[in-house]
Symmetry: C2
Subunit: 421 residues, 2 copies
């Protein structure tokens, strides 16, 4: 969900622990003759996917790890992107003229979003694994989305883009793996909305996944989560620049998107974390200003988050991905509402981790999944990691998450009964 | 904070348990010659206060109970308002032409916001107590606020209205009581922002308060609370109709205010309460619509809350009252940051109640106050009421809150060591 950057020093592109310079790739996975069918009943005649890979696929094709990204993430999970990309101009998200070029400028000079976990000698060790990360359908980072050109009209889709869902993302990832000659994943790993994709992988393609590692993700979003998303969409769609999603030639709905992102950031941090990070400290330490300008540090933080997000994300994509969050419900999809029945499909080794202060995908929500897996007679490893970083913890608690991933990705020993790679 | 309506049947105006028909009163408490000084350093030359009273002041003037209201509340705490008021026209908040007439239309056919607690035979028993409730400074319900006419310009204040704080509200209430000939309160009672007023009463005027009953209120707002308020203000001030607060002759910033209120409602309910009230139920039970229209029941609920709020509340007032929420910090104000030192001022009997699932003014926050009072050597009665209604519980848990109030308002018996009325 969050796209927080690690607090600890990062490995430069020339570091032996970095995957170094990477270039995103693109693949077309649908056509008029073979459109991509969508969960909601419609289909897309053209689907291009942006993805990156790190490491080498083994001769046996048995060392692939799929990393799935969260709301505002992208395919650039590790290393340093040297592609020119399309720089944002005057701080605004620009429509892609050819329908597929992502606003990649923002990510220059930054390592991939999970560079702390992926690389030589890192928990997802690229000396051993072939790692794949693909941008999700509906996003604005190189995979087809609402800013892409609708081949039927030659104009960006905007709100004529169909509703997409977690299930669609996973089926599209499966097509991508097909094209890469990967039948079976050694592991699928993701956090937040990426964790829901990992779960959906294990449910939809049980025979294609040896291990599924699900971080900070519940089998469904709570009513509170749906409510936050509804408010976020309200901000965006009521921004006068929104123009029913048809804003690509004009000023985008920046205030609406910034507001939505500010709100989201509150849900990514915990109450205790915010108290410890900001407390009630004033911007001007000496004296309150008694007005409506930025007075408390936390206000300044949120305003900054809102401002910087509008430079790198498309408001329509945000709407579509929030809606996908709303709709995902593993129990409904695979067990007619019964999560235990759904879990009877599972054949993979499952690791679930929650974070103690996460109130978006709560430990309780994660434990519902864990309990259902247990009741279905399957094995599951579960950790609730103590952290004050809230939902962001899955990105910020690098030490603990790293150890968890390292352990889970070890080749299973016979006595553990795990699935051998 | 919230202004939820009780779920149980209400007493009609003719019921023996109702205070019946009431008419709000107005009093002018400042003038050019004697302006009202404000905590932020400025002053107001004209201050009118709208208030209601229920019951009779005793000959000894020792039976007064001040009820303090929350964010969107008003002076109309009990009974039925038969004054004509100013009806809202075409669903929009209208500026008050004479500076002081509240948009009272909305409250016709509704009992006062705490009618469940105030009346003959009710927990705050009007056969015994003389109950006073006054609208707070900066609000839009009859007390001077940003929609009032600035006597210097003849136009509504808008954002030229000075920042007001909890401390100002309490000092103004004290002036009102002076004018009513009430030196000492038998009790001050309030929840949420009203609870902070009750606390401020006990700290500022220890000798004027026998009992202070503080519900669902901490001595300060958390960083998370400040953050939510910042986002709410962002929506309002970035609504293009906001016009820097000068919108009274034009369309008001309805989308901004509606969005702010939608967000607030999420913070008034608990996660568990929303799951139990709405879950993930769809508006159309049969089939999802797969689009951006109201799909989940919780979306419809929030949209309704947003829409109805803009008909009864002024966006500028909302900004000012949120800012007052942000600024209040009892420890800073009375103990230079040390809450225990602040509590050494207390002379009243104190009752604090929190609600287990309240995550806006959390049990933890309330307990900070309780612990500080204990450490200061004062007595305090504390209850954490189990409830799934979140912050709204102080209005919704009528049975439990009623019993608590009844008990706390009993005349102290010698053996309890309480303060006699």
């Amino acid at each position: 969900m969050a796209n927080g950057r690690p607090a600890r020093p990062v490995d430069g592109p020339d570091s032996p622990n970095s995957v170094g310079w990477v270039t995103p790739r693109h693949i077309r996975l649908a056509s008029r003759e073979a459109p991509f069918p969508l969960e909601a009943g419609t289909s897309l005649p053209e689907v291009e996917v942006e993805y990156e890979t790190y490491g080498e696929l083994s001769a046996g094709r048995d060392n692939a790890v799929l990393v799935t990204h969260a709301l505002s993430g992208d395919a650039h999970a590790a290393g340093w992107d040297r592609s020119a990309g399309v720089k944002t101009v005057s701080g605004r998200f620009k429509a892609r003229r050819d329908g597929f070029t992502p606003p990649r400028g923002y990510r220059h000079k930054k390592p991939g979003w999970w560079d702390t976990m992926i690389g030589p000698g890192k928990p997802i060790d690229t000396r051993r694994f072939f790692v794949v990360c693909a941008n999700i359908l509906g996003s604005c980072y190189g995979t087809t989305g609402p800013a892409s050109l609708n081949p039927g009209t030659g104009a960006p889709y905007g709100l004529s883009f169909p509703v997409v869902m977690v299930e669609d993302w996973v089926r599209l990832q499966a097509l991508l793996l097909d094209s890469l000659g990967i039948d079976r994943l050694y592991a699928v790993v993701g956090g937040s909305l990426g964790g829901q994709q990992a779960l959906e992988w294990a449910l939809r393609f049980p025979e294609r996944v040896a291990k599924a590692i699900i971080l900070a993700a519940s089998p469904k979003l709570s009513a509170q989560g749906v409510a936050f998303n509804a408010v976020a969409r309200y901000f965006i769609t009521n921004d006068p620049n929104f123009s029913r999603g048809d804003y690509y030639r004009n000023a985008p709905p920046e205030h609406g998107l910034a507001a939505a992102r500010m709100l989201a950031h509150i849900t990514y941090l915990s109450n205790e974390g915010m108290d410890s990070k900001f407390g009630r400290r004033l911007q001007n330490r000496n004296k309150p200003g008694y007005g409506f300008d930025e007075e408390f540090e936390v206000e300044s933080y949120l305003n900054h988050q809102g401002r910087s997000f509008v430079e790198r994300f498309d408001a329509n994509s945000y709407l579509y991905i929030l809606r996908a969050m709303d709709y995902y419900d593993a129990a409904e999809r695979w067990g007619r509402g019964d999560l235990v029945a759904a879990c009877e499909r599972l054949q993979s080794e499952i690791l679930v981790a929650s974070f103690s202060s996460d109130w978006l995908y709560t430990p309780d929500g994660c434990q519902q999944l864990v309990h259902a897996i247990c009741r279905s007679g399957r094995a599951v490893t579960y950790a609730d990691i103590p952290s004050q970083y809230g939902h962001d913890a899955f990105l910020v608690e690098t030490e603990r998450v790293g150890k968890l991933l390292s352990g889970a990705l070890k080749r299973a020993k016979p006595e553990t009964g795990g699935t051998p790679a």
